[in-house]
Subunit: 494 residues, 2 copies
């Protein structure tokens, strides 16, 4: 309130507008001009009344009017705050003035642009993270769906247990060597992050995340209003991690230690042991997101942190989205029983339980060996697509314009642009040329990654990959021959 | 901290235990005894150090040790707080000390007891709210599932739009006369409450709810840490509601205005108009949960608030759970477009999107007329079951032991016990006799409802209803012949 100059505010008792209306206009104008930025707390009513020499009712009426017009939001016992954005053309009730603090997390225009472009039929997208879906055994899977719907109608159509269908918890437990009652089924692994945020995090807490890291995780934790501190698992510097633990006392560490999204990096078994020891010593729970574990081209990554853990410091997350299909929306987590009970209470209040039919069909699909058979095909096909993509990149792009390390699994190729090409500018050109990628800024919580990008090599068939990389090559060539920001030409750095 | 008597704490520099260990033990003992109840803020380190005449390091070490043992939770910049329950036998890392404030909402033992009992095969449950599922057209529905899986594999198995499948948004829009882009598909209507809570509510806000009201809503809002203020829609006293608006400045009003859960009450069209006018005047958004609209026995309830609303003050929620099957987990909401965009961002971070297959099958089921045909059967069957239940209650229970008003729709019979029989005591007897109901305390946020209960008449077939009511009658008879709390016999009130 300090920044509002009330000396210039003459509340006139002779002007036709009531005092409260004059005050309302003056405050509205200050908010519009930005003198009172969003989040500013207005002076308490009594105090402002004293300062201006008017009655408290005048102030109350002015604050109510500002609230009604969407400029401020009053909270009983906590004062009146300036809202983030008073303009919502579409909403007569000034809905925005009602929004909670956390909901103001803005709609990301870069992502909306990506999604709009991805809906164009002529566009080839390497941006979305999806496995090869063209080989999904839809007919076989459909039989499992039909069998569940016809043979177990009560289980399919009635309410199910919040922790998940027993058949699926058992199938997952058997496949991943976890006690079934330590498994909880999720409506996608992203829901696990939402439940964990509700369970562990308060606004202002700190969470350690991979840097760069899974965008969905950054968003889910970010929506909880926490501070995100990045740790680079590709470098895996444990002194740095200890510094972070000491400095920020984080509430959780989130990592994706096998074929990481976006870099493809994998923690070695020694690094896994070090990470667990350090987290146990500082009592920082680890959330291990193991979505890409089954997608190694040659052999498997080291055992999950969850299995190496002797301190009960690891919560395990996994999903059928990357090894089968994201549209199924089924994931799971594993954790100590006391925590499963707590998380089930939170899930009960979030979406009651995950749809039964998909759970029952998946349970059969897993136990019948359908998943294993599919994975054999998927790994080979992904390896082939990766080869096609790397060969095309080498063929279509100028030498040193884009560099990468070939990953040993997963679905992403993490690339660095040469000649200081800026990812954002290239994305504009690429979108115009009909090809999309994920700019690296999506994977950093601090706006880094100006010259990096992520390509998903798994989702498109080989001939589409070739065509998409050709378009990307054209976009790179166009960018290299264009004037740079600041007017300089690109100068290949030798 | 005031209640800890440090005068009796002699920190001895000669005892073998370090000073910080002595302090740790003293504080741990105070927490165990309850002298420091959960939520108490410990004195700042520097202040306690000064008070006890020890170094700040001693205090820091003691607080860290207490945190490690799960007694307290430290928050950077906000101090150190006593945790809710330091005993978690199963969790070596003392997970509980990490839990966020909101997650401490306790597991409700009454509900866990109900759920345990409901799993017994010999038990007849009138507790769970479910429509008749035995007439669910599983074979027909399965054909729609198969058709979607085989004909639209890319839409089924790939990522879908967060707002929902266009086909389902259109089908819902056409059926309920809402623009499809103002419809958003939900993973059950309960998810709508979770999203709305994330969007609108901050801890300490007030929400007006029906009194008694839908338990799931009370829980979803309660988990957001808000104060719930009840308003009785059966009485529909608008002066009382205006008083509530004036006194609490609520952020939302949640209501269930057609065949309400649990009472079966329905707001008249005049009451609906009054409610909208009042909410618009005080700018309190209404969340209209219309889950039972289609389940009227004779005709329909008055139009939804959403359709009567000319102020954009109503958010509309509905679900396929009550008119089709709860296990499908598909609901929807309707709201102004600006709000749909905001809520979609929140859903994107909560569960990405609802499973595609179920959405596509439901779209076909609705547009092909399958839902309408099913509703014809469902209404008639529910009416028949209600008749069976009311006739059985009259036949099996002593006169005036249990009274009710026959509802005109929905799935619930709201009952009042006579002779001051206590619902909780009767539930114990009923559970032992093999029949379950929902005690009224579940539907009040303030612990009222000592002599009321809710019976779901829709879920069980007629012969099971008769058997269940016989068991209930036996439980009532046993309770009436038992000594009352306090030792008095039941005395029929004439």
């Amino acid at each position: 309130m300090a920044r509002v100059d009330f000396s210039s505010l003459t509340l006139s008792r002779t002007r036709s507008a009531a005092l409260y209306q004059q005050l309302t206009e003056a405050l509205a104008e200050s908010i519009r001009r930005g003198d009172l930025p969003p989040g500013t707390r207005l002076l308490p009513e009594r105090q402002l009344a004293g300062q201006l020499g008017v009655s408290r009712t005048t102030i109350i009426n002015a604050y109510r009017e500002l609230e009604a017009r969407g400029f401020v939001r009053g909270q009983v016992g906590r004062g009146t705050y300036v809202c983030a954005n008073p303009d919502v053309a579409d909403a007569p009730l000034a809905w925005r003035s009602k929004l909670a603090y956390g909901a103001h997390a803005p709609v990301d225009p870069a992502v909306e642009g990506l999604m709009r472009a991805a809906a164009r039929p002529d566009v080839i997208s390497f941006a979305v993270g999806s496995p090869a879906l063209d080989g999904f055994p839809a007919e076989q899977f459909q039989l499992f769906l039909a069998e569940a719907a016809l043979r177990q109608p009560a289980a399919v159509f009635g309410h199910g247990p919040t922790e998940g269908q027993p058949a699926l918890r058992q199938a997952i437990g058997a496949r991943y060597r976890i006690a079934p009652d330590q498994v909880m089924v999720l409506s996608g692994s992203l829901q696990g992050l939402d439940l964990l945020a509700k369970c562990f995090l308060e606004r202002g807490d700190t969470v350690v995340v991979d840097r760069p890291g899974n965008r969905s995780a950054l968003q889910a934790f970010g929506a909880a209003g926490v501070r995100l501190v990045g740790w680079d698992i590709a470098r895996a510097d444990f002194e740095e991690l200890e510094d972070i633990f000491l400095r920020y006392r984080p509430k959780l560490l989130y990592t994706n230690p096998a074929y990481q999204n976006p870099t493809g990096a994998t923690l070695s078994i020694a690094q896994r042991r070090d990470l667990i020891e350090l987290a146990a010593r500082y009592r920082v729970p680890i959330v291990e997101d193991d979505a890409y574990r089954e997608l190694g081209f040659r052999g498997s990554p080291p055992p999950p942190l969850y299995q190496l853990d002797e301190h009960s410091v690891v919560i395990y997350l996994n999903t059928f989205s990357k090894m089968l299909a994201p549209g199924l929306r089924v994931g799971w987590l594993a954790a100590p029983r006391a925590l499963i009970r707590q998380l089930a209470q939170i899930k009960l209040r979030s979406d009651m339980h995950t749809a039964n039919l998909m759970q029952l069909a998946l349970a059969e699909f897993v136990t019948s060996g359908g998943l294993d058979r599919h994975l054999v095909w998927l790994r080979a096909e992904h390896a082939r697509r990766l080869d096609v993509m790397t060969a095309s990149l080498t063929a279509c792009l100028p030498p040193a314009a884009l560099t990468f390390r070939v990953p040993e699994g997963g679905i992403f190729l993490w690339c660095r642009l040469g000649f200081a090409i800026e990812t954002a500018r290239l994305l504009d050109r690429a979108t115009a040329a009909g090809v999309l990628f994920a700019g690296a800024n999506l994977f950093y919580s601090d706006g880094s990654g100006l010259n990096e990008l992520r390509l998903c090599f798994a989702a498109q068939p080989p001939e589409v990959i070739r065509e998409g990389v050709e378009r990307l090559g054209a976009a790179v060539a166009a960018e290299l021959s264009a004037p740079r920001t600041g007017g300089d030409d690109y100068r290949p750095i030798v």
